[in-house]
């Protein structure tokens, strides 16, 4: 595994890096055992070095597929040509490393299946994210036609209020698309009166308003079918809604990398496309190992201190 770091920086440097790093860890362990305080900036430095080292090494690890992600994939796989899908990108640049790969993979999948996508967002910053995702999807599908293959209705302020209105009347909130074209003249939106008219809704979001609000204000009142892509922070609290209120969920970069894997398994043509989430998983694993070490060290230190206290008392 460590040898993988030879890529990019040269073997001498990487060996030097990892040996120094291991020595540092040893020092940290010693500090913990002897019960001395470690300043938090040193911990920060360790964290930075760990992740930097792993990023530079470009470690790629296999991911395991799970049912909760596969449900989203299978639903899209089961739709037929021309079906309409609503893709809501409710995040900002800070959530993009986790969520953009999902949005990209779902878009690629839909366009490959010749489904029509309507993009929208509940976040002011989402407009820029939509532009980015469409640009990414167009790399593989340069012939997409605006209005026939996809459309972008953009952003509306109002959080829950937006959702509650589009659940019963889409055009009331979005009479036109992002550049003032009436939805009646876009074939993507033909016959779409409310959210339930979309065959599938995929909400990709990192906070509030996000997936929870989609369930509360769209799925419940309109009975629409929804899947989601959640930032890792909010994924655990969405489990009560699965599978009754949303039929699948991609959680964090792990979920995104699973989706990327499924997409490449079924459609090998995407193997050449960059799998952004899978790239994240390697360094992430290394960081997890480091954090587990920290927790172990901290508890060793805690128990030794308790023992010493017990002995002196």
């Amino acid at each position: 595994m460590l040898l993988a770091v030879t890529q990019g920086l040269g073997p001498v440097f990487s060996w030097f890096f990892w040996i120094t790093f291991a020595a540092g860890l040893g020092w940290l362990l010693w500090m913990s055992i002897t019960g001395r305080e470690v300043e938090r900036r040193i911990i920060f430095l360790f964290m930075g070095l760990t992740v930097s080292g792993a990023v530079l090494a470009g470690i790629i690890l296999p991911v395991q597929e799970t049912t909760v992600v596969r449900n989203v994939f299978d639903t899209i796989e089961g739709l037929s040509e021309g079906d309409r899908v609503l893709l809501s990108l409710d995040y900002d640049p800070s959530g993009a490393p986790e969520l953009e790969p999902m949005a990209k993979a779902v878009s690629q999948h839909c366009f490959e299946k010749k489904l029509k996508i309507c993009y929208m967002t509940l976040w002011g910053t989402g407009g820029a994210m939509i532009t980015d995702v469409i640009a990414l999807a167009k790399v593989d599908f340069p012939d997409l036609v605006y209005g026939d293959d996809y459309c972008n209705v953009g952003y509306r302020a109002g959080n829950e209020a937006v959702l509650r209105v589009i659940a019963s009347d889409f055009r009331k909130t979005f009479p036109t698309d992002v550049s003032g074209t009436s939805l009646d003249s876009l074939s993507v939106m033909n016959g779409i009166l409310n959210c339930a008219d979309f065959k599938y809704i995929v909400a990709i979001g990192s906070g509030r308003p996000g997936i929870k609000e989609w369930v509360e204000y769209v799925v419940e009142p309109s009975g629409a079918l929804m899947g989601s892509g959640a930032a890792a922070v909010s994924a655990p609290q969405l489990y009560p809604y699965y599978p009754q209120q949303m039929n699948g969920m991609m959680g964090g970069s792990k979920g995104a990398s699973e989706y990327e894997k499924m997409l490449r398994r079924v459609y090998p043509k995407f193997k050449s496309s960059r799998a952004q989430a899978t790239e994240i998983m390697g360094p992430q694993t290394v960081a997890h190992v480091f954090l587990m070490l920290l927790i172990v060290f901290a508890n060793i230190s805690y128990f030794l201190a308790k023992k010493r206290k017990g002995a002196s008392a």
Binding site: P93, A128, A157, A161, V162, T285, H288, V289, L291, I295
Partner: protein
């Protein structure tokens, strides 16, 4: 009058929205109210921008601490406002005029967003990774039974995401695959976590319903206090 009108507004608006859920012909009323809400939401942004302007101008004029940085804020604010309101450098302007997509790729508004706002907000959030490391080292200790349960559960989830965990329990035969770390962590998330989340969710939902009910009935008026009365 200063007190009754807000309470009347609260009662009527809230009443319409709740009852419209059960009376289909009222749905149109609810939709209008919610569209109003959406339009007012924008004025809240203006209020935010206006407050920022006011405070920073005061800071500069009175030469308070860090007033130089207030100038940075003001310059950033006005540049972005000009780029956005006039859709400067927007390539779609040629075809569509002011109807062009504000975030069209290549527009200056989007470019500044990509160059300044995007890296700043992404970097700020990634600072949290460092703080998580420090919290794990400093606070994550098995002080009592509750803390121990929390610690073990977090540890299994972390372990389940790594090759270390997968390798260490890879030897287990199929009949006890429940104890494989990756399955265990999945189970913790999808079952045990679900139970706790659902309990919290139901509790919070009840609290919110109760408070909202009191707000609409005019029993709870905290939000209407403050300012000059």
């Amino acid at each position: 009058m200063k007190r009754t009108i807000p309470i009347l507004i609260t009662f009527i608006t809230g009443g319409i929205i709740v009852l419209a859920e059960f009376i289909p012909p009222w749905a149109i009323l609810r939709e209008h109210v919610l569209i109003y809400f959406q339009i007012i939401a924008v004025f809240a942004f203006f209020l935010g921008g206006g407050s920022l302007l006011k405070i920073n101008c005061q800071k500069v004029v009175r030469k308070r601490e860090d007033w130089q940085f207030a100038i940075v804020t003001l310059v950033g604010f006005f540049i972005m406002l000009a780029l956005g309101l006039f859709k400067m450098g927007n390539p779609e302007m040629v075809d569509l005029g002011f109807a062009a997509d504000l975030n069209a790729s290549g527009s200056w508004f989007k470019n500044v967003f990509d160059a300044v706002k995007a890296p700043l907000s992404a970097s700020m959030y990634s600072l949290l990774a460092f703080f998580i490391a420090s919290a794990s080292y400093r606070a994550f200790r098995a002080k009592n039974s509750d803390a121990t349960v929390l610690l073990v559960s977090a540890f299994i989830i972390l372990l389940g995401q790594t090759f270390v965990g997968v390798v260490s329990t890879g030897w287990m035969p199929e009949w006890m695959s429940f104890f494989k770390v990756e399955n265990l962590s999945l189970w913790l998330l999808a079952k045990a976590n679900l139970a706790g989340q659902r309990a919290i969710l139901i509790g919070i939902a009840l609290g919110i319903i109760s408070m909202s009910l009191r707000v609409i009935l005019g029993i709870e008026r905290t939000h209407l206090s403050g300012g000059d009365e």
